[in-house]
Structure formats: structure tokens, C-alpha cells
């Protein structure tokens, strides 16, 4: 009896503190944002009161924010653009990550930990520093832009700006998120049984067939995991377009940031956050479903 009570106390002691903290500082704030998306903006930023203040000011709940979102195609366009940038970043990351993940998985065991550390190290340096590095490399006075514009000029073309362009945003997105694609891919590829490839070879499969018919299908869970880890953060990213992009390269994140810190329309910002959250949940569900579907087939 005493031990059963002790067991229950242990369980409560371990579970309660993190649960209470995360309920208070994650779940409740998330629900507040849902509520805020149905409120009016306050007079000086913030939110208008829910109860009638009795002086004719706006109060209570409204569907105005979501109506506003659909009233102007500009907002949908920014969401679509963000999805395109996220898809492009994911695809480029996949193409760049696969050879690295493969190389690490096929390396002798004693080298693998070191190679993984090599992938993690740049990711451990500050996010802003990594974005800033591309400001230098793509800058108008740097060697890259000068060489490119020299060549363009020789053929009579107008000089181009590498920095503050959609190109710079894409490079930044890929650079910051590449390790998120490499690591799950490597974890997956490492588990493949090399005998499968030997068997395929004995059955007459060439190198391309061995990859396309054996390695690639088996690696799909890793591909889906990595894609989710790149696509989702890129979708909500505001700092990279903010630093490397031009004024027209605004993505969802920038739009949300502006509502909270610029124009101070919190309810509309909350609405945008909810729409983004729904997109993310749908994507995460899709990735989980795709991963599961593969596993049952295999």
C-alpha cells in the first residue's frame, strides 16, 4: 500500500511541474491567441475589451479579422509565396543533403560521429551570424557580385543586385535549414542493410536502379521527416526575408511581425498566426501520414 502511494506521488512529482509550466506558458497563450483573433483591436494597440466598457468603444467578439484576410487577395498571395519559398528551400536542401547523409552513413563507424559533429557545428553558431555571412558574400562590393556584374556588363546586360533579392532569401533559407535535412536522412540511411544492395546487384540492377528501386524508397521516412523540419520553419521565418530580402519579398512571418510590432493590429496578427498554425498542423499531419503509409507498404 505504502509503495503504491509512493509510486503515485513519484508520478505526480515528475509529471506535474513540467505540465503546469507548459500549460501556463504554452497552451494558455496559444488559446489567448485564438480568442484574440475574434476580438477588435484596442485603441492604442493591444486588444479591445471583451465586456462593454459603457462608452461606445468597440468590444466583444467579431468575425471581421478573418473576413479582412479573405477580402484582399494580397494576404493569400503572401501565404502562397511563402509556400513556394518553403517548397523550393525543401527541394534544394534535399538535393544538397542526400549526398552528405549518404557519405556519412557509408563512412567507417569510427568517423561517423565526427562527420555528424561537422554538420551540427555551423548550425550551433548563432542564427543571425549565419544570415549575416550571406550579407557579406552577396553584398554589392564583394567579389561574387562584382565578377558577375563584370561578366554581365561585358555582354551588355544591366548589373543585378544579389543581395536584397528573392535569390538571397532562398540561399539564406537553405543555408540555415540544411542540417535539419541532413540529420534525419543520415539516421535513416545508416539503418539500411547493405545486403539489400548486394542482392539487387546480384539480380542485375545497375547503380541507378539500386538507388531508385531500393535506397530511395527505403529512405522516404527520412525524407519526409527532414522535409517537415525544413518546410515548417521556413514557412514562418521572418528574419531571413527581413535581412536578406527586398521590400517585395515579404513572407507570412514578416506580415505577422508587422501586425504585432508595426501597425499594431493584434487581432489581425492573431488571425494570421492561427491560419499559419492550421497550415503547419496540416503539413505535420501529412508528413506523419506519408511516413506511416510508407512503412506499412514496405
Amino acid at each position: 500500500m505504502a509503495s503504491q502511494r509512493g509510486e503515485r506521488l513519484t508520478r505526480l512529482g515528475a509529471t506535474a511541474p513540467p505540465t503546469l509550466f507548459l500549460l501556463a506558458f504554452f497552451l494558455v497563450p496559444a488559446l489567448i491567441v485564438v480568442l484574440a483573433s475574434f476580438q477588435f483591436p484596442g485603441e492604442f494597440g493591444g486588444l479591445a475589451p471583451l465586456a462593454d466598457p459603457g462608452d461606445g468603444r468597440e468590444h466583444g467578439l467579431t468575425l471581421e479579422n478573418i473576413q479582412f484576410f479573405f477580402s484582399d487577395f494580397l494576404f493569400t498571395e503572401i501565404f502562397l509565396r511563402s509556400f513556394v519559398v518553403a517548397a523550393e528551400s525543401t527541394l534544394i536542401c534535399l538535393v544538397m543533403a542526400y549526398p552528405v547523409a549518404w557519405l556519412i552513413a557509408k563512412s567507417p563507424k569510427q568517423h561517423r560521429d565526427f562527420l555528424v559533429l561537422l554538420v551540427i557545428l555551423p548550425f550551433a553558431s548563432n542564427f543571425l551570424i549565419r544570415v549575416y555571412a550571406w550579407m557579406i558574400i552577396l553584398g554589392p562590393q564583394a567579389a561574387l557580385a562584382r565578377t558577375l556584374n563584370g561578366v554581365l556588363g561585358a555582354f551588355g546586360f544591366e548589373p543585378v543586385s544579389l543581395l536584397f533579392s528573392p535569390f538571397a532569401v532562398l540561399v539564406g533559407m537553405v543555408y540555415v535549414h540544411l542540417p535539419f535535412m541532413i540529420l534525419p536522412l543520415y539516421t535513416n540511411l545508416e539503418k539500411h542493410d547493405p545486403l539489400l544492395l548486394d542482392a539487387a546487384q546480384d539480380l542485375g540492377a545497375n547503380a541507378w536502379q539500386r538507388f531508385w528501386r531500393v535506397t530511395w524508397p527505403l529512405s522516404l521516412p527520412g525524407v519526409f521527416a527532414g522535409s517537415a523540419l525544413v518546410f515548417i520553419p521556413v514557412l514562418g521565418m521572418f528574419a531571413i526575408p527581413d535581412i536578406l530580402g527586398g521590400t517585395r519579398d515579404m513572407l507570412i512571418g514578416n506580415l505577422i511581425k508587422d501586425q504585432f510590432l508595426g501597425v499594431r493590429d493584434w487581432p489581425f496578427g492573431a488571425t494570421l498566426s492561427i491560419v499559419l498554425t492550421l497550415c503547419v498542423l496540416a503539413l505535420a499531419g501529412l508528413a506523419a501520414w506519408a511516413g506511416k503509409a510508407r512503412r506499412t507498404h514496405a
Binding site: L9, T10, P18, I137, T187, A270
Partner: protein, 259 residues
């Protein structure tokens, strides 16, 4: 063992170069005797001199370290408990509660905490709000590292302790805790690094009163870029390098759990 084709090795080498060249450029230009990050002029330590004379940067560095220390200690406490609870009792809702803040785009956590702090707690944004925000997003990382360590351990050790008459608390203090300590320390170092590096969530929860190193770097990048940014970047990189190497030495599972 099957040999890898040369083009695959070249492609992997290109990806590694892509990862490292930008960082090398930042470090190299921190020693460059020119205001422009454009071409190599000559070696100097002037930018480090400028950096060490920069009062705002010193204040930001102090804030960053204080926030990181308090936030990572608290996150280690909550995260270790969460890792233990998840391993032992498998509560699905706790897994969701711990993982979701990590898996969401950071901006969502940032704005929800901003609204919560101001609208519900009526808190003046500053050190306290930043620390609370950092604890929230770090718990998941610590929990994952601790849980990975527990998953790799032999359950019979705990059963043996119980069979020998140890109370749950004694089992924890004398068996479980010493065994997971490397993972706890690794989780702490990871939370510390994440807090020190965080920009997005800090950006929304710091308000105007308090600056941290990433906020300071951001405003310098946005307003006037000088190689002083390269100098602080180089020092920060050195610090995180030490922290990551220390964390991976502490716990073998760190890289897989943390990655």
C-alpha cells in the same frame, strides 16, 4: 564494402563547403583592416578593440549570459522531470505539450507569449518575460536528450533497486539520477546554447528595455554594418563551439537526441 562514386563525394564536399565557407568569411573579415567587408586589406585587431570598448555590447552580453543561465537551469529542472515522466508513464499529452513548442515556427510562440504577457499578466516586457519564454522553448530539448538516454538504459537496474527495498526516491537518487546525469548536463548545455542564441522569441518578448547579444547584432546588421559584428560573431562562435563540444562529450546520445 561498396565504394562510393566520385561524383557523390564531390557533391558531399560541395555541401560541406557551403556550410563552412560563410563562417570562415565572417571570421576572416573580423581581422580585416577595412570598414567594408569587401576585400582583404590587411591584418588588424582593431575591431576587437572597438568591441571591448562598446558599452551597449557589454550590457547585452551580460543580459544574455544571465538570461541563459537562469533559463537553462529552470529548463533543465522541468525538462529532466518531463523526460523521466515520458519514459516511465508514456503520457501522450505530455509528449505533445513538450514537443509542440519545439516543432512550431518560432514566431508563433513569440507572438502568443507577447499577447499573454501584456494582455493577461500585465507584465512589463524585460528580463523576466524573456527568461520565461526561453524556459518554455528549451524544456522540450532537455526532455528529448534525457529521454533518449533513459531509452538506452537497462530497465533491470531499476527493478533490482526496487527488489532490494529502495523507495522510489532512493531509486531515483542513488540509481536513476547518477545514470542520467551526463544527459542532464548535456541538456543543460544545450538549453544554455539555445537561450544564448535565440533571436526570434527574444525579439517578441524583450520589449524596448532589455537587449541581448542577438538583438544587438540584429540592430547593427539592420542599421550600420561594421566588422565589429564580425568580431562579436567570432567570439560567440567560439563560445558555442566549446559548449557543443562539451555537450557531445558529456553524452553520446546528445547528437542524435539533440539533432
Amino acid at each position: 564494402m561498396r565504394r562510393l562514386p566520385v561524383w557523390l563525394k564531390l557533391a558531399a564536399a560541395a555541401s560541406f563547403a557551403f556550410l563552412y565557407v560563410p563562417l570562415v568569411v565572417v571570421v576572416a573579415y573580423s581581422f580585416n583592416d577595412s570598414r567594408l567587408n569587401a576585400e582583404w586589406v590587411g591584418f588588424t585587431l582593431d575591431w576587437y578593440r572597438v568591441l571591448f570598448g562598446d558599452k551597449e555590447m557589454q550590457l547585452a552580453a551580460r543580459n544574455s549570459l544571465a538570461i541563459a543561465l537562469v533559463a537553462s537551469l529552470c529548463a533543465t529542472f522541468f525538462g529532466t522531470l518531463a523526460g523521466l515522466a515520458i519514459h516511465r508513464y508514456h503520457p501522450r499529452w505530455l509528449v505533445l505539450l513538450v514537443i509542440t513548442p519545439v516543432a512550431m515556427p518560432e514566431i508563433l510562440l513569440g507572438v502568443s507569449l507577447l499577447v499573454f504577457f501584456i494582455q493577461v499578466l500585465h507584465l512589463t516586457l524585460g528580463l523576466v518575460s524573456v527568461v520565461l519564454a526561453h524556459i518554455t522553448f528549451s524544456i522540450g530539448f532537455v526532455a528529448i536528450v534525457v529521454r533518449t538516454r533513459l531509452a538506452g538504459m537497462d530497465e533491470s537496474l531499476f527493478e533490482a533497486a526496487r527488489d532490494l527495498g529502495a523507495s522510489p526516491w532512493q531509486t531515483f537518487r542513488l540509481v536513476t539520477f547518477p545514470l542520467i546525469l551526463p544527459a542532464v548536463v548535456a541538456g543543460f548545455l544545450m538549453a544554455f546554447t539555445l537561450s544564448l542564441d535565440d533571436f526570434v522569441i527574444t525579439f517578441f518578448t524583450a520589449g524596448v528595455g532589455v537587449s541581448t547579444l542577438p538583438l544587438q547584432i540584429y540592430s547593427m546588421i539592420k542599421i550600420a554594418v561594421t566588422p565589429e559584428v564580425n568580431a562579436i560573431s567570432t567570439l560567440l562562435m567560439l563560445l558555442t563551439l566549446l559548449l557543443v563540444v562539451a555537450a557531445s562529450r558529456m553524452d553520446k546520445g546528445f547528437m542524435k537526441g539533440g539533432g
